[in-house]
Symmetry: C2
Subunit: 79 residues, 2 copies
């Protein structure tokens, strides 16, 4: 079972990496971008086959390790 976790900075939190990418794109001639945000995508290969259990466990992983919930939000997709 696969779990995909997307971790991204909360709205309003400054994203210097996103700003740098935005600036780099503009200097390469891509002037169509209004804003860029850069987050992390963590793909976990789980041994469990119980979907509910997997989701609960991945949520706990996010809260304890994968995301800094003070400044970051996350979303979980179980596939």
């Amino acid at each position: 079972m696969k779990a995909i976790v997307n971790v991204f900075l909360k709205e309003g939190v400054l994203d210097p990496q996103g700003k740098a990418v935005h600036h780099a794109l503009a200097s390469l001639g891509f002037n169509d971008t209004k804003d860029v945000r850069v987050g992390k995508q963590i793909v976990l290969e789980l041994t469990t086959t119980d979907m509910a259990k997997a989701e609960a466990e991945v949520k706990e992983m996010c809260e304890t390790l994968l995301a800094n919930t003070v400044i970051e939000d996350y979303s979980i997709e179980i596939a």
Copy 2:
């Protein structure tokens, strides 16, 4: 218009960040994970409203800046 780009290391390319997360999860008692891969998720806010044009442009951004196509793959989602 929003474009979501996921950049991840190709299969077979060693992912030290993923290995570190895997190890950290195990040491926290999460022993259900078989493998962890860490990638980037880049969210672009585009001014264009033409879906085909947006997709072509984002593809070019990936090839020139966002992904290192020697070791990384990417996927594009236009929303």
